[in-house]
Symmetry: C2
Subunit: 213 residues, 2 copies
Amino acid sequence: MWENTKSRIPEATVNRLSTYARILDQIKSEGTELIASADLADQCGFKPAQIRKDLAYFGEFGVRGKGYYIKELRENLKKILGVTQTWKVVLVGAGNLGLALLAYKGFLAHGFVIDAVFDKFPEKIPSHRTGSLPVLPMSDLHEVVQEKQIKIGIIAVPSESAQNVGTALVNAGITGILNFAPTQIQTPHHIKVKNVDLGSELEHLSFYLSQYP
Amino acid sequence: MWENTKSRIPEATVNRLSTYARILDQIKSEGTELIASADLADQCGFKPAQIRKDLAYFGEFGVRGKGYYIKELRENLKKILGVTQTWKVVLVGAGNLGLALLAYKGFLAHGFVIDAVFDKFPEKIPSHRTGSLPVLPMSDLHEVVQEKQIKIGIIAVPSESAQNVGTALVNAGITGILNFAPTQIQTPHHIKVKNVDLGSELEHLSFYLSQYP
DNA sequence: TTTTGTGAAGACATTCACAGCG
DNA sequence: CGCTGTGAATGTCTTCACAAAA
């Protein structure tokens, strides 16, 4: 594995790694062998020094005087991000949002696949909208997650139910959660939660538009 | 307006304001008149001092020895965030993601409404999936945005087209953009862009799960 | 020479701790 | 007395600037 003898990795660094990986993916078709931190910086809007420092947390991937070998760096980034394997994901909530996530496969392309769908009232979900996956009742969650060894869960239920679902996911053995409910959920320390709150993003835009009209 | 004589507001502060507003909304039904920063902190997971400092950027909303009047603070937050009015939003891209956003009204409840939908090939979109809104061709974008005085745009097109759409939105008069394409778009300084990248969020989870299995 | 990798400096954000006020 | 508002201290992230290496 890559040698993370260095200190804790900043959140912001981890987020940027995804960007680096995506950009390298886009240019892999071209003939270029090497890329310098300055060129990468041009393409993602960050500063060259930041890119070098980000990468240096995980090892010495570059060649002084040359740059980084694109293919090699891309593979290292994928190892670091843990996306050499495909992750199975469990989706809880098959309302509008859940079904939308199911229909929009685009964002799962990078190595994530929804492998099971749960809902409080599975019989109410029109089956033609769920693709090939059956919608299962919450009572099956623990068994299925254990059976399929699923580690990542998506919460796509209303705020009122989010905490209960979060707890159920953790009890079932999930250790990473993507939470679309606009509410903070309590989890044990070893569980990683990422919140996606579109309302909050729009309010942020609104704030700036109001301030600088 | 609130007196922002103080220095520039940190990004992180603006994001937290949304959380404060949401929590205050949830407890407005109860009889409580006042809330202390410590209580608010319990409910959102931030530190009391941080909440006080965040609010202090915009004025003195609290009463020493008592706390903050819930109703008053909530209204002040909405003024600050600029969500006393309803914002019209233009959606570009009526593929799976765009249609999903259109169907999932949940996140627009807070004062945002999709008022127009555009696509490169409007005739290809099944009309039963767009609700009551017609899907218009890109050539109408400028006119409609001007006509309806729309200031916020959502980009829900593939990465390859995101830059072109972004440029078109800016030329049409949009000044705030929510970008779902997993790519950095270039805009003039006065345009505010917020990126929502689900792939990157999942990769962040993957990173932590790989690191602490 | 060119570009990385990295201490040191700087910028920014969070937390502390207490004065100030109701 | 209790809690806000805030300067000072601390902590974290970013940027600079240069030594080290190919």
